[in-house]
Symmetry: C2
Subunit: 397 residues, 2 copies
């Protein structure tokens, strides 16, 4: 602790891109630049893959104005990867780290990525290689333990809210049943944020389904029928990760040839299958003549250029800077957590936590905010409100 | 011509909503308000359906600040309809118009809607009913004859450009093959606007397919293979309306139970089927292990809250006002066309055209800007640039 460790630094960006992951990259660079002990600041091209292939982008002397433009650009400027390093993979990483005199390692990502940072850190200790290893949080799923919320989530939630604001007005103009499929494998935070689209009584989404509770196709059709009978329209927000009572994802049940990534995750995004199936199910149950439509928001949620939360930008930058500062000050490893201290006026602080506190763990939506399995308690708006910031003004006759 | 006609006015909004259709509504109200001959200004609730069911919203005294907020709200504030009036339907409309002393009729919509305005106008003349009937252009498809572009298109095109800007960065970070399905049944303007996402050489979309040329599944796989082999990634923008050499939409070929609206149009939006089929086709041809994803932008393109072109807002408002002014000045019928007079600096003027100039006709993308059936000539950026206005700044390593 606190002794000076001379060497180079490597920063990587892993997992799914977000609107603000480059803010964390730039914050980390800024936090390292003031330290004489740091030699070169290297960006790993495509995350762990760049580390093993010795494919680095030298970030040491990138001018500040260019860094500022990078910070404001969505998606991962260094490139990303979904590789999950095993011991052999980590062995190669260390050979490259040794070759490049890397003593500082920062990995920006979600729970899979924090687990990678944990493995790399533990392998370093086992090998007697002195390394400071930090995870910097990032995930639109908002599912990291110990965090009030995670960088990337507020911007994605703002996209979802703005999409539903427009879509529920569209549905009011041309009434029918509309199903919007929103990202979220295990955590329903992003889908729940659709509630922020409501500006007055009767506004959609009228039904919200999250993966925290079991989804039943029969119950779903009955819910839609009830809302449609009452309002002449129904707009549904549903997580891609909804599953039945046995825990089998509804999307998996439908897919003939299920694709899995290196982490064993089934492909949920980049396909409209779940939405189309739910729409067909509603028609089967309630009538083929009904106007039923489904949209799957897909990758637009995480990287749409020009839809970003200012709080998210600021916090993502600060989280990157905080990790760098802790490492420079002598902390050997850890992750950064955002802890909210007040709703209104909003305030939050950044705290160091252990890598093992977040690694490979999944935080989910508090179940007490889920109403009857098909809505979110209105009081939960207080959670989302400061994160999203200003939303477009809506006026209706 | 020019004689004063006393009576009430009805305004309707038809077809698919847009981000600026309420600008045209408010512009029309503003254009009518100065005229003493106009009694009540009535908004037809759900378009022609409201007209036959005597379901009107009184707009005469809505305060200006509320009108301004309505103008800035996406989707159709009066509600819309896809009904296509036949003679019996029109007969009912006239009974209601007579009951309500309606002498001014404004219908905001696309080519189906301009045809409705034409039928209503011709029936009025046949029935000896003195009516001033105007069509106010609106369609994200940009497919109205005599118009350089149509209100609603620039904002939808801006959404498509911003979506592709983010998505092509996402695809650069996690390389693979990505297919984005964009609205456009017969006209490829909106899909072509995806070219504006490119900020430097190598940026996607790498392939652009529009309905103006026949689409061949074999040729498509070969195009993707060529780009993917060269760049290690490939991002495709494709119109929902692509069809084979016989003119059969690719989406129709796939659908078991094809749904049609009252105009005989096949359902293309509100389903991810086309994108999923194209993705499966690429895997079949190029390898099941490839990372292939598809997103269908769906209704977000036309009503996403918070993504709007300023030129579009201004022109949509002006088009509504122009129609009202022409009617008040004594013109009996017509439509409004936007005619561009200069690219840079951009300027355009509004002209009166005949209803028969636009009714039920479809303008398509000039075929000479389509390169090899799979791209758009870079020089065509000059067409889109002033319409979209400022786009988010992008910086890449």
């Amino acid at each position: 602790m606190s002794k000076t460790l001379a060497g180079n630094a490597v920063i990587g960006q892993s997992g799914g891109p977000t609107a603000v992951i480059n803010q964390s990259l730039v914050g980390c660079i800024e936090g390292l630049r003031g330290c004489d002990a740091i030699g070169r600041i290297l960006g790993a091209h495509h995350a762990v893959r760049g580390m093993v292939e010795n494919d680095f982008i030298d970030l040491t002397d990138v001018p500040q104005d260019r860094l500022d433009r990078i910070a404001n650009t969505p998606s991962s400027a260094l490139g990303s990867s979904r590789d999950k390093p095993d011991e052999a993979y980590c062995q190669k990483i260390f050979e490259r780290f040794a070759e490049n005199d890397v003593r500082y390692f920062f990995y920006i990502g979600g729970n899979d990525s924090s687990d990678t940072a944990r493995i790399v850190n533990e392998t370093a200790r086992k090998e007697g290689y002195e390394l400071r290893a930090f995870h910097i949080p990032k995930t639109i799923d908002n599912d990291l333990e110990c965090n009030d919320h995670t960088p990337g989530f507020p911007s994605a939630a703002k996209f979802v809210a703005q999409a539903l604001m427009g879509d529920q007005l569209d549905n009011a103009a041309l009434p029918g049943i509309k199903i919007d499929v929103i990202m979220g494998r295990h955590a329903g935070f992003l889908t729940a944020a659709s509630m922020m689209a409501r500006t007055r009584d009767g506004d959609g989404p009228h039904l919200i389904y999250v993966p925290e509770v079991a989804f039943d196709l029969g119950r779903f059709a009955a819910d839609v029928d009830r809302v449609y009978s009452q309002r002449g329209r129904c707009i549904v927000a549903v997580s891609e990760g909804i599953h039945d009572v046995e825990g089998t994802p509804i999307a998996t049940k439908l897919a003939g040839n299920v694709e899995r990534d290196a982490h064993g995750n089934v492909q949920l995004s980049g396909t409209g299958a779940l939405g189309d199936h739910l729409a067909a199910h509603v028609k089967d149950c309630l009538g083929a003549k009904l106007r039923v439509r489904a949209d799957t928001f897909g990758y637009l949620q995480r990287s749409f250029a020009g839809c970003v939360s200012e709080v998210d930008q600021r916090e993502a930058r600060a989280a990157g800077r905080k990790a760098a500062e802790l490492a420079v000050e002598g902390e050997e490893h850890g992750s950064i957590a955002i802890v909210r201290t007040s709703d209104d006026p909003y305030s939050a602080e950044l705290q160091r936590i252990e890598l093992t506190d977040v690694a490979a763990k999944t935080r989910t939506l508090p179940t007490d905010v889920i109403i009857d399995g098909c809505d979110i308690d209105p009081s939960y708006r207080r959670y989302f409100k400061p994160l999203l910031g200003g939303l477009p003004a809506i006026e209706q006759f």
